[in-house]
């Protein structure tokens, strides 16, 4: 395992242990980030210690102890001052929750209602996902400084709200669960399609998202959306072995060697989504999982049940409107009713948030190629290649741009892989 994978995997465990020991989520989170940074500098040179988790915990703990010491002294002083002023000091008793997975408690803490949704996602990716601020910024297409400020704000908001390191009370849990699911979804996507850098797949993040979602599913087995999200991840991850070529290049869904798909994962995901669909209310993750299952069950692109997929995307677009869903629906419609029908749907997205991203021109290029307009397709492939921050995607898009139209099998763009 690469050093950066290892430290990222250990991040939430170390942070959980630290917060349990010291309290002070804010200070602990900073200390863990510093310790992770130290590790990623020193381990490649000095070698990985025998017990990396203990090493990180010790280093982070040392950093946090001084902070906590002065904070404890300050708190005592404040409490005494309040009592001397004749006011009752507010001293909530620390709560211990033995047997609760720290990563799960961290998840709910990062998804605290006092924090704005964008900051919840950012903080979760850093504190639980172990991503650096730069990686999170890339995932959300904002400058590093913006993301750094967003994370600081998140921690201030959590501190100001007086949030405790404990599972939220039952009445709040379902609303907060929706945010947790969204965050896990984004972590998985970040892991499955690294938004920047040379590696297409950041294995540990996808696995970490699956690990956390499995844990959630074990705790909430009757929640259809938790099961739906887990199914979606498994059905998507099942294609991972076929998704990259020997050079680490992107292989689109239509060209993948489906015998290399992980059929155990497909069986597990299909069973999960089948059961989840029987548990209303129907949510976006169940629908996306159902779509993924239809892809995974098909022997090839031609035998894929595109009308059913287009219908599911229409429902999805209705209950959870989202430009990426509209983009994928356009692809399914193109496969059902022809590329021109798909291109018409794309025109509606030109004024939306996707207008400046790489996916819209990539899909447009693909549909233009299917429609036989090779020249226009090349232009859009090149535009998409300029916009993506992922090297394998750029190589793939440039290769498409260099290929005259009509050669090679029809491809399904990244949106549905």
């Amino acid at each position: 395992m690469r050093v950066e994978d290892l430290v990222r995997d250990l991040a939430p465990q170390v942070l959980g242990a630290l917060v349990r020991r010291h309290g002070q989520f804010d200070a602990c989170e900073d200390a863990v980030q510093e310790a992770l940074l130290t590790a990623s500098e020193r381990w490649p040179v000095d070698g990985v210690p025998d017990n990396p988790r203990a090493w990180l915990t010790t280093v982070a703990s040392r950093r946090v102890v001084d902070d906590v010491r002065s904070a404890t002294a300050r708190r005592r002083r404040e409490e005494t001052a309040a009592a001397l002023a004749g006011l009752a000091p507010d001293t909530p008793a620390p709560e211990r929750a033995p047997g609760v997975d720290d990563s799960l408690v961290l998840l709910f803490l990062c998804c605290h209602p006092a924090v704005t949704p964008a900051s919840q996602v950012a903080l979760t990716l850093r504190a639980v996902g172990g991503l650096t601020t730069a990686e999170i910024a890339a995932a959300f297409l904002v400058p590093d400084a913006t993301m750094g400020a967003r994370i600081s704000r998140a921690k201030q908001q959590i501190r100001a709200a007086g949030a405790r390191f404990a599972m939220p009370p039952a009445p709040e849990r379902s609303a907060r669960l929706a945010v947790v699911l969204h965050v896990l979804y984004l972590v998985f996507n970040e892991g499955y399609t690294a938004t920047s850098g040379d590696a297409l797949v950041r294995t540990d993040l996808a696995s970490e998202a699956i690990r956390l979602t499995r844990m959630l599913h074990r705790r909430l087995p009757d929640d259809g959306e938790v099961a739906g999200l887990l199914a979606l991840m498994l059905l998507t991850d099942a294609r991972r072995p076929a998704r990259t070529g020997p050079e680490g290049d992107l292989v689109p869904l239509a060209e993948q060697d489906r015998s290399r798909w992980d059929h155990d994962l497909i069986a597990e995901g299909t069973a999960l989504v089948g059961a989840a669909l029987t548990r209303p209310p129907l949510g976006p993750y169940q629908l996306q999982a159902a779509i993924a299952a239809l892809h995974d069950e098909a022997a090839d692109t031609d035998s894929t049940d595109w009308p059913q997929i287009a219908a599911l995307y229409t429902v999805l677009d209705h209950i959870a409107p989202n430009p990426v869903v509209s983009l994928n629906r356009a692809v399914a419609v193109a496969m059902t009713d022809g590329p021109e029908a798909g291109l018409c749907l794309l025109d509606e997205l030109d004024d939306g948030p996707l207008a400046t991203q790489h996916r819209l021109p990539a899909v447009r290029a693909h549909l233009l190629e299917l429609a036989g307009d090779a020249d226009a397709a090349r232009g859009y492939y090149r535009l998409a290649a300029q916009r993506t921050a992922s090297s394998p995607e750029r190589r793939y898009l440039l290769a498409r741009a260099a290929t005259p139209g009509g050669h090679g099998p029809p491809t399904t763009p990244k949106g549905t892989t």
Partner: protein, 122 residues
Amino acid sequence: MKFLLVLHNNPAVLEALGPDEQQKLMDGHGAFIEATQASGELVVTQALGDPSQSAVVRVRNGVPVVTDGPYLEAKEFLGGYYLVDVADRDRALELAARIPDASIDQLGVEVRPVMFEAGLEM
């Protein structure tokens, strides 16, 4: 020299303060603790519980009898104190003047010298 800076609380006076003044009072104590800790003059400070929680023990004919405190009706009661170790009485008075209670109408800070003490070294 050790002096006890005694705070006589008066709930009616404290409750009449606005939230800002209460906060100022609290912050003032915080700053006082910090300053006297830094100068090494603060030995200890204690804030006492509400008199409603007081008990009085009397032993009569060898039998202890515990009753609620008779101080509930009192307007003022001992709220807490600072024990400071200072160069002289003037410094103790100077410190007392810096305790926020000293500046509040109808409140003051009592400064009493410590005559003898028995501590852990006994």
